[in-house]
Symmetry: C2
Subunit: 480 residues, 2 copies
């Protein structure tokens, strides 16, 4: 057990230094590595396998809701980016610009896409002519670039992988419905696949997407009480359509502008998985996206029959489409135990000579450390049931964390007090003015509005900042 101890000690405790704990895990679980390009990361096989599982699950949800995948160019000519005023103001400052192509200086510089609204709009203008061409429900999986000053793997990098949905509709109602539908798709995905609960709602004017009329957001809370913007959906009205001259002949035979949405989530979700679920021994992966769901560890594997039985166990689980790995390397079982714990593998199955004698194996849950003796004939069933239980327990634990770290501020003083002493979300009333958001952010050193929930509680009649009549209840919090 000496090796196990050593391995575990190498991860900083999350209560001691959460930031260091995070980067320790990213490095030791071999999720990502730094590259020679400032702010860009390498996603290593184990991290990428999580992303592939995320993609597969989300893509199925997108297709089920009628969306089709496309691929747009990665470059945006400067003139195209400038077509929508708010949009270019929001993104131009963080663009990477290509100015030389094939040894020659370009006549017009090209931005490496930070997001693709402008490219989609240019294409929509060509392919939308009649109401019969609507809706257009497109999605794209790609990488985007936003030049960041300070970066952290998965959470904030100059290049990241994401999906961006872009849709066009005949009516504002239909587009609004899409905006909310995709927020629900994200919320379901976070709950059912990532085992992550969240607060959802509308962003304030100050926090909405550059060029959008409305932005909706899903805001999960990390273990340490800090929020992560987990995904956003935007309703654009016909603003971009007007700037890009996208028109269609309606049912009334008149020319009109279509109504637009976009929505996105990114590899940042891997950061959320780490920070919501992980503990001092490493990752704890939600079973549905875990690249390895079950690690089979033979004990005393040199004894006759052990490896054979372990292999049978592995094959039986593979037959049930369970992602299983048998580790028959020459390392000590104790080392393997802590290695797969660190990698967040949901279930470990130990099988040694004694177990075989009793026709059993030992099932160990990563989330609770519970050890269960399982008759060999029941192993598929026990594993499937336990994976489901782990998912539920992880979700409930995260929900408990979110609830216990959500506070209510009735006054300005109380708001500042909570912000200073209790990491988490603060529910408080707000007058609707940007200056109060800015003041609260300055006073607290970074607490910002997260969202206005769909169901608002009535905490008081007045804004927690200025004392004027309150318009909304807002969730507030620090963010990554």
């Amino acid at each position: 057990m000496a090796q196990q101890k050593k391995l575990v000690e190498a991860i900083t405790s999350r209560d001691t230094d959460f930031a260091k704990w995070y980067t320790d895990i990213v490095k030791k679980a071999e999720l990502a590595d730094y590259s020679g390009v400032k702010g860009c990361m390498i996603i290593r096989p184990y991290g990428y396998a999580i992303w592939e599982n995320i993609q597969k699950d989300m893509d199925r949800r997108f297709k089920k809701t009628g969306h089709e995948n496309v691929y747009m160019p990665m470059f945006i000519p400067e003139s195209l980016l400038q077509k929508e005023k708010d949009h270019v103001e929001g993104f131009a400052p963080e663009c990477a610009w290509v100015t030389i192509g094939g040894s020659e200086k370009l006549n017009e510089k090209l931005c490496v896409r930070p997001t693709s609204e402008t490219l989609f709009c240019e294409h929509f203008a060509k392919v939308i002519n009649s109401y019969r061409d609507l809706p257009k429900l497109y999605n794209q999986w790609c990488s985007v670039v936003r030049w960041e000053k300070t970066t952290r793997p998965f959470l904030r990098t100059s290049e990241f992988l994401w999906q961006e949905g872009h849709t066009m509709h005949e009516t504002p109602e239909e587009a609004r419905e899409e905006t909310l539908k995709m927020l629900q798709v994200y919320t379901d995905f976070y709950k059912d696949t990532l085992a992550i609960p969240a607060v959802i709602g509308r962003k304030t004017e100050k926090e909405k997407f550059a060029g959008a009329e409305e932005t909706y957001t899903i805001e999960p809370m990390m273990y340490n009480g800090v929020a992560l913007q987990g995904g956003t959906t935007h309703y654009f009205g016909d603003g971009f359509a007007k700037s890009f001259d996208i028109t269609f002949t309606g049912r009334d035979n008149k020319l009109q502008y279509p109504f637009q949405t976009s929505w996105g989530t990114s590899t940042r979700m891997i950061g959320a998985i780490i920070m919501v679920h992980g503990d001092d021994d490493g990752l704890i992966l939600p079973p549905k996206v875990a690249p390895i769901q079950v690690a089979v560890i033979p004990v005393a594997q040199k004894k006759e029959g052990v490896l054979e039985k372990a292999n049978i166990l592995k094959d039986r689980l593979l037959d049930k489409d369970i992602r299983v790995k048998l580790d028959d390397s020459d390392k000590a079982p104790g080392w393997k135990f802590s290695q797969y714990e660190m990698m967040g593998v949901p279930i470990r199955l130990e099988i040694g000579p004694k177990d075989i004698e009793n026709n059993k194996c030992v099932l160990v849950r990563r989330d609770t450390r519970e050890k269960i003796s399982v008759p060999l004939e029941n192993v598929e069933c026990a594993v499937n049931e336990t994976l489901q239980k782990i998912h539920e327990n992880m979700y409930n634990r995260a929900l408990e964390n979110l609830k216990s770290k959500t506070y209510t501020a009735h006054s300005h003083e109380e708001f500042l007090d909570i912000a200073a002493s209790k990491p988490g979300f603060i529910k408080a009333m707000w007058c609707g003015r940007t200056e109060c958001e800015e003041k609260l952010k300055d006073e607290t050193g970074g607490v910002k509005s997260r969202c206005i929930p769909f169901v608002e509680e009535h905490i008081s009649d007045v804004c927690v900042c200025c004392g004027k009549p309150a318009k909304n209840m807002v969730y507030w919090g620090r963010q990554y």
Copy 2:
């Protein structure tokens, strides 16, 4: 049938103008569109769905052979690209360079990856320490940029989607084996999934990849006799390893350099599908990658029971995991027939009142136009069998084309004569000198060496160009 006629007339005949026929299909089947960025294309839903099917199939083959997916940054610092001399000479002239990031001029310009050997090497240097870390079998799905002067959708674009495998091995033998293994994976994929036969072999010194010791290639022949470089695999020896200082402690406890390969295929394969299989009525898609494998077209669909039966048919095929679309739009059946023919859908099922009366439907093959009356109770079976037959017929037809357009040149005169009058491959002997390759290319206006096959025929004793002793039999041909 007037509408059908009109639709068909809109495609240029492939014997009249192959290039125009090609772009007509790309446009009318809605595979791709031009974008506002010179040389970059938009891959539309139908084209992207083909790419997704290609990806899924190839990715399964890569994983089955032990490869893991990763993601590297899209930017390569100039100094990193320059580390391997031959490599930078090959790629620097066609790079797009980022010189401004976040409103500031960069200290070092960044190349948008044209290929990622340098990035993988930088990472390998960090993660390879011992022979226990080998082999590293990585693959990446991403987009790359090569600044092209003249472009054509799928065949040659400034940005394209591809996969690039990068592997590191303990011994040269193992790396060479990988190079040939992946060529075989590509060859199997072309044959079993795309129904495309090809010539395979080794590239000459002149044609090999920048920085490689050996390059292998798969060269399918398009309908018009022109070759397409369909995929390449490269053996690097330890050249890059030395340039990037990648070392490992061997079994003998001594520090040594690992041996490397890379291999790639791209969206260009969609171009090959079009040009190998298509005809004057449009696309003919290989069943295994067709986004729609069966189009169900109701006839007299307003008659009672027709749509109902058509829906049952669709659901039954869906249950068998067949990709099926029921078109119940208000367009005429004739229009639909030619629409799905143009889209290359392998099978059309027609069902009308008379068919229903007889408990039958009409199955029409896209490849042969054959119409078969199928009892409704047999439809799943008939569809599955026919999809397999279509695949085989498409492969055999393409093989026949390749064989009938492959010629043997015994003399210089015969070579020039064939090159001038018969589009296709030419088998001819070669002395092994680059100057003969260049001379033949100049004399013929573009006929280049395709590859030296693994099994060479003995055509004569002397080089077809200079008359000196022959070293190899080479396949020659024009290329896209």
